[in-house]
Symmetry: C2
Subunit: 748 residues, 2 copies
Amino acid sequence: MRKLLSSLLICATGLALTPAPADVPLRGFFPQSVQAERDLEARFKTMPDPGRMREAMRRLSARPHHVGSPYDKDNAEWILGQFKSYGWDAHIENFDVLFPTPVERVVELVSPTTYKASLQETALPGDPTSNQQAEQLPSYNAYSIDGDVTGPLVFVNYGVPADYEVLEQHGVSVKGAIVIAKYGGSWRGIKPKVAAEHGAIGCLIYSDPRDDGYAGGDVFPAGPMRPAQGVQRGSVEDMPVYPGDPLTPGVGATKNAKRLSIAQARTITKIPVLPISYGDAQPLLTALGGPIAPAAWRGGLPITYRLGSGPAKVHLRVKSDWSLKTLYDVIAKLPGTTEADQWIVRGNHHDAWVNGAEDPISGLVAELEEARALGTLYQQGWHPKRTIIYAAWDGEEPGLLGSTEWAETHADELKAHAVAYLNSDGNGRGYLEIEGSHSLEKFVNGVALDVEDPESGASSWKRVQASRILNGTPESQREARDREDLRIGALGSGSDYSSFLDHLGIASLNLGYGGEDDGGIYHSIYDDFYWFTHFSDTSFVYGRALAQAAGISVLRLANADLLPFAFTNLGETVQGYVKDLQSLRDRRSEQIVERNRQIEEGLFKFTSDPRDPVTAPQRQLPAPQLNFAPLLNALDSLNHAAARYDRAYNRAVTEGRVTNAKSVNERLIQAERALTSTEGLKNRPWYVHMLYAPGFYTGYGVKTIPGVREAIEQGQWQDADREIARAAAALEREATLISGIVAALPGA
Amino acid sequence: MRKLLSSLLICATGLALTPAPADVPLRGFFPQSVQAERDLEARFKTMPDPGRMREAMRRLSARPHHVGSPYDKDNAEWILGQFKSYGWDAHIENFDVLFPTPVERVVELVSPTTYKASLQETALPGDPTSNQQAEQLPSYNAYSIDGDVTGPLVFVNYGVPADYEVLEQHGVSVKGAIVIAKYGGSWRGIKPKVAAEHGAIGCLIYSDPRDDGYAGGDVFPAGPMRPAQGVQRGSVEDMPVYPGDPLTPGVGATKNAKRLSIAQARTITKIPVLPISYGDAQPLLTALGGPIAPAAWRGGLPITYRLGSGPAKVHLRVKSDWSLKTLYDVIAKLPGTTEADQWIVRGNHHDAWVNGAEDPISGLVAELEEARALGTLYQQGWHPKRTIIYAAWDGEEPGLLGSTEWAETHADELKAHAVAYLNSDGNGRGYLEIEGSHSLEKFVNGVALDVEDPESGASSWKRVQASRILNGTPESQREARDREDLRIGALGSGSDYSSFLDHLGIASLNLGYGGEDDGGIYHSIYDDFYWFTHFSDTSFVYGRALAQAAGISVLRLANADLLPFAFTNLGETVQGYVKDLQSLRDRRSEQIVERNRQIEEGLFKFTSDPRDPVTAPQRQLPAPQLNFAPLLNALDSLNHAAARYDRAYNRAVTEGRVTNAKSVNERLIQAERALTSTEGLKNRPWYVHMLYAPGFYTGYGVKTIPGVREAIEQGQWQDADREIARAAAALEREATLISGIVAALPGA
């Protein structure tokens, strides 16, 4: 059946997944270089081996391997050995970071009835690693402050700012209360942060079965979903302020680094927080009184979800061991030849919350197979133009610690030498998901076209396109059909690209397959070899596809004659962002006007139900008009320069030579750097990129042109015009840099 | 608090709920008649008594009173006595109708495990009437065919046609299967009808706790929601074909009426069907295998919802007593004076599925208080111009039996004399919900402005407007602010107005308050006095408001100098329907083109997940263009005539006399009749109204301009142009009639 399907698809689309002929252009390569690159890639593609990935996963996920655990170090040493055996120049780089581990954890309902939460994930028969209790990190949220609090319980939905507006309308306050929030709807660290801002004294976070439990399928081990006792661990460090070691913002956490005191660290929570299972959450939620939760807030438990606060009173106690722990980053190098001081950096973390088969080992085993293949090619005589650096990061889970400390330590070298950073993390079945710098959008589309999707037999590109046409809005449907390149998402946070892109301005991409399998084992003891090999990419064919996609990206970047950046995609994307911002302002303005009018008309009073009275919201000041002219002017400059670069690039490729290619490439590397601003974002100077940042109130979720967008979203109108000017200045710098490159190319 | 709120509202809006002064116009009244009418209404408004409503509800809902039960007859006789005691000329009119009552009911899971459904609602402590088991009609769906079937179980969501497309995409067939559908999403009778069309052999319908169980609040008796054993009874007669007695379509079911055989009756289901509780549904749903149900299909049970068919096999047995039962319609009359042969008809049913406090007694007790008040006014010397007929219908629950048989029996008189029919059914707290003929839209808006909302102190009109501004789409928000009249909905089916409007072309209105209280006792033994007086309009102030709204409507219609129809609202509304139809065709056309293109592009194959393969849908023929010109021309005629009528009406009112008022009113009565067509709708000739009908595949839900709309929706393109011409002819008749009336008014 699948075979037939595949051949049908190839007929239907004319896609032949044999290598493209040498006369089809390849972004970044002169005509005379294409054939050699295609041949090299064809050899490379055959090398990643699903069987080896499976065995590597078995080995790496055999025991819990969180930061500071014996098996974390053991894995690092094994990975080091692997790189060396592949012919790479590899070493381990250590850092000493603040990483709290739990000492005391108590959650109990103290009235109207009593219930003591078990806070314990149980070993499951048939699952051979879930019984390694002695080595498992108990369920907790890293970087929760220590605390011992008792207070009424309030259900806050996902705990994002909009949820507190609903609570306020229903007259429910969280002042002095312990909130209970569902996982999801935002990055988890946002939940205690927003709760504390509203006066809460403690925070519980639970996994609702509607979101990743039985609603989506059978629970583990019968199926992939979260069982009643399963808990999502995770960091609640305030990463939107800065990631990495809380004690060494902006500098590497080396042995003798100058450290803040814990009290000085801005990224530790203000209130204690613990994650719990839905098994433990159900008695607490059942005890809640108060108004019935809106339909959209309700989860999958067989109860009436209420807001509180009612009779339910909860005691929460959290205490951690706040000692420093050692990180083991594995760094491996293949030296470049003619452009050795231009670096292609590729990474995936190796630490996990527990056994971490899916997160992160499923991505790491692909990276290791890439490394083995590249090492083999190297030994067979291929030497890359540029230096290739492969990293297996430690400490990603607590707060991107390993990558951040390494990037901060090597900031100056990286700013001078790094061409691009390629990241992966977990991997699964389905669709090639790509996010990253839009100057690489055209490049990575070319890669996706050349990697076969294992299930459909079509290209990974074609499958994503098909899905967007079938499932997209009319606009994204039209775009998927008509636009030359599939649009890639912007990067927020949540994995190790953050320091490279957000702090150093290095063009970055994040790659991974997914979208076909549901699961509910994220950050639990059940994310293990048994789960992955029963419910995810069981044959590791998508692991191979990831190794092919990332490996070909590395090969092309390392071998390219002219680095394959394209700025028309960047300009067009930023133009979309600016339009977004303009309509965001207008929409906010209309909302404020409409809301104020509704208040004046007394509508909230007319419709208040005496059995569930609603309070009218506060009047807000009308939104001022903003001066978008600087951004629009800068955009014109950027688009103009980008178009000129396209023409110059095409001329250069047609001619087949650029005398000063090395220096042109060195200037191309600086194109992403030009989008940064030394003073960084308001209140979080660690973040210097003017186009991309994780949202202050979303965490993982990206905010594009963040200075302007967050000023509008948060109603800080007085900042908006200044932020527009800062973003515009970055775009003008970019335009100037690109114009300079154009001048240096032939025919200028 | 409430007192303060009310006075605030009055300040904010300038609304004084004392009667409007005599110089404010009153639709239908000459200036010299306004003061008397206002005075009369002011006296009327003080009369409906919440205390009496409470006691009447206690009496009428004291025992089960379904069709054929002793207490149904007893209630009818008590109601008759009430009318007589109020001074009305009242009698009981009997009909003999086919009404099946259950003899055998079996639902059992026979594999892979076994479970026998209890099919039994249990008596609850504290609820004094739930223990009247001997008199309760067991839970069942009336007009299910007898049957004894065993087959695999398939979950079909709400069981509407679109759900079967999803099943087909997942490769799940219901051929030879027993389907289980959730209540909701359509009228219940649609579920077995569509299931049978797809080859199912049996149908179960259950109440999911997400829809009216614990998700929405505490379950009865602690709260208003449906407990685990609660079952929704209800008719599954194919009412979109014709309502009323299945054996006497189109004629009254009098003693000697010519009757069809049961086998000839088109409105009995094709497959056996039974309703069950979620307590009984859970073991069946848990046993299902097959693909996981889409997220939107999942309910509130703590299980993984799957589509089947899997190992679950079910045995269903239904057998009824198919004897005829006697209906007791109570008909009461206050004779008119100068225009006695113009009738104002008002009704609410008295039969229930069990005790029926909410459905229908909460509406009936308001109607009785209106009748008492009108009788008192009559005895005090007020005599209406027109004859007023109040009805308490029997047999509404099984299929609008009492009203249909009465309307069919008196069809000729009603067509000649009936000005309007005013209906109510259950009543609750909240917002005045109005549906009906758009020629009465302006009139009923005037009534809503003059009835105080008991909670806010504002008018019932104002409160609805406030809610639409707060909760509506931008378009309905704008309309609620700017349009002179609040838009009223069109009538589908689901209560006793159907025969008057759909079969006889009598302008109709349906009135009731609701929207603030959730409940889950509908058609169960728990819809009783205890429930209503604990969880709904406990002080009966909304019962009083309904009596005021309906009573004032009756008074104004009965006393008006010129009947208060207004046709500009009708024309504007129909214009909206025609625009809808045009964009519906275009949207369907685009969907077909897009879907065919997706099939050609192979998108379904590219995206099919081998673990949950999806089948591409079938290609469809493109939609032809339709000739809307006849409808648009007819609309021009109607709008033109309506505008001229408005001017003529205003002149007549300004002059304060119309010499031929009686004959003008007789012609106004015919305006709704003009919108009917003698041959009726395709395949259901009982329905003759060309603007309004219940949807063939929605049941209660209305289809406006149904001939055209259903031809487009069902892709029966060959019918569409003919249906457009038929609808256009009705509008032309209406325009001609109105033009004739204009000519008969002064100044023509």
